[in-house]
């Protein structure tokens, strides 16, 4: 196992972006961190007041990415990951839809949403490290707890909570409205904290 140890110094700069620079369509009020990663060939649309954290990856190789209003995409998450199953991968036709996030969606740290007509409904919270397969349709106001796996092509009804390795129940608290308000507050704060540089991606 004694591989020759290379003595070359490692750069502290983030690695150069792999792949082509995608066409983007940003609202003027979004917050996107400088170190976010946007790759792919299809268009990426981000609507008003959404926040993209540092090191979040939006990949439009498999189809266009549409992000609704007031979404938060946390660090290290991948929207539009090229999936192993169900996803079409690279080389689709021009107007293919990859991933569509509704309004008020939160994608937490390290979550990944595979490409291929995947839809996430309004107000849904995708927990830490979760994985949503290509073509899955997640309803409105769902809660996916950390490390949930949604199979490719699965359809999840509105107000579903997925927890404890795949168990499901209905959320009957009726707090969707409040959650949206909380999200708006959080975005106000994040807007001041994260230096935004949309020009870098345009």
């Amino acid at each position: 196992m004694a591989a020759p140890s290379s003595s070359k110094r490692h750069s502290i700069l983030p690695p150069a972006q792999a792949g082509p620079k995608p066409p983007v369509q940003f609202s003027s009020s979004i917050t996107i961190a400088d170190s976010a990663i946007l790759i792919g060939t299809h268009p990426i649309t981000i609507s008003t007041e959404s926040v993209i954290h540092p090191r979040a990856q939006l990949n439009s190789l498999g189809g266009r990415i549409t992000i609704g209003r007031r979404c938060i995409v946390h660090e290290r998450s991948t929207v539009g990951a090229v999936g192993t199953e169900g996803g079409r991968g690279a080389g689709g036709t021009a107007e293919q839809s990859g991933v569509t996030l509704g309004d008020y969606v939160t994608v937490e740290v390290g979550a990944s949403i595979e490409t291929g007509d995947t839809v996430v409904g309004e107000g849904t919270n995708i927990g830490v490290g979760s994985k949503i397969g290509g073509g899955a349709v997640v309803g409105k106001h769902c809660t996916l707890t950390p490390y949930t796996v949604v199979a490719a092509g699965d359809v999840i009804p509105d107000y579903t909570v997925i927890y404890s390795n795949g168990l499901r129940r209905q959320d009957r608290r009726g707090v969707a409205e409040l959650r949206n308000k909380g999200q708006a507050r959080q975005i106000e704060v994040l807007k001041r904290m994260i230096p935004s540089s949309p020009a870098k991606f345009q």
Binding site: R9, G129, T145, R185
Partner: protein, 197 residues
């Protein structure tokens, strides 16, 4: 028999911290390292998420405390883990709160920690998610793939596992030694020493 890594992979500070060049530290001015802490490559710390509401707004003179993440001595942050301060609505406004780690805290690879407080001598396994505002006391062992729900309080000397996390046992008598991270600290860095067997 660890292979000697390329020279200068870590930045070693005067206080003995070993920070990998490939670690992602955002908002470094708000991250406090107690000393002798190891941060491995690809670990991420969100120091930019500082508290927006100061506890006493009228305290003029004293500089506002802007620490977002405070880490004690001999902590070990493995590859790919992520520390981020928890945030919530407080009096109608959203604010992040500081994340505090005690001494001898091990964070396993791929884990995400959004706790309020982590005590001393805590072992967090691989791919663990710790929810916002969880409080973890001293001498706690969290096994791999555990999901600690938000606001959970884990008492001292517990062993915790499951999704969601439950206390499944106690740290046995005399089991404290295993939490000590001094030896592990020596095995990484630019001049690593082999681990004693």
């Amino acid at each position: 028999m660890s292979r000697r890594p390329p020279r200068g992979e870590y930045i070693e500070t005067d206080t003995g911290n070993k920070v990998a060049r490939k670690a992602t530290l955002v908002g470094t001015q708000n991250i406090m390292l107690g000393g002798k802490t190891v941060i491995m490559p690809e670990a991420m710390i969100r120091g930019d998420l500082v508290r927006t509401l100061q506890p006493s707004p009228s305290s003029s003179g004293a500089a506002p405390n802007n620490t977002a993440v405070a880490i004690g001595r001999y902590c070990f942050l493995s590859r790919g883990c992520c520390l981020r301060p928890p945030g919530r609505l407080y009096k109608g406004l959203f604010t992040y709160m500081p994340l505090r780690l005690g001494d001898h805290v091990f964070v396993g690879p791929g884990s995400v920690v959004q706790a309020a407080t982590v005590g001393n001598y805590v072992h967090i396994g691989a791919k663990v998610a710790i929810g916002e505002f969880a409080i973890i006391k001293d001498y706690v062992r969290i096994l791999d793939d555990t999901v600690v729900p938000p606001n959970m309080v884990i008492p001292s000397f517990s062993i915790v596992a499951g999704q969601p996390a439950r206390v499944i046992g106690e740290v046995p008598e005399g089991g404290h030694e295993a939490f000590e991270l001094r030896e592990l600290y020596k095995t990484v860095g630019n001049n690593p020493q082999p681990a004693p067997v």
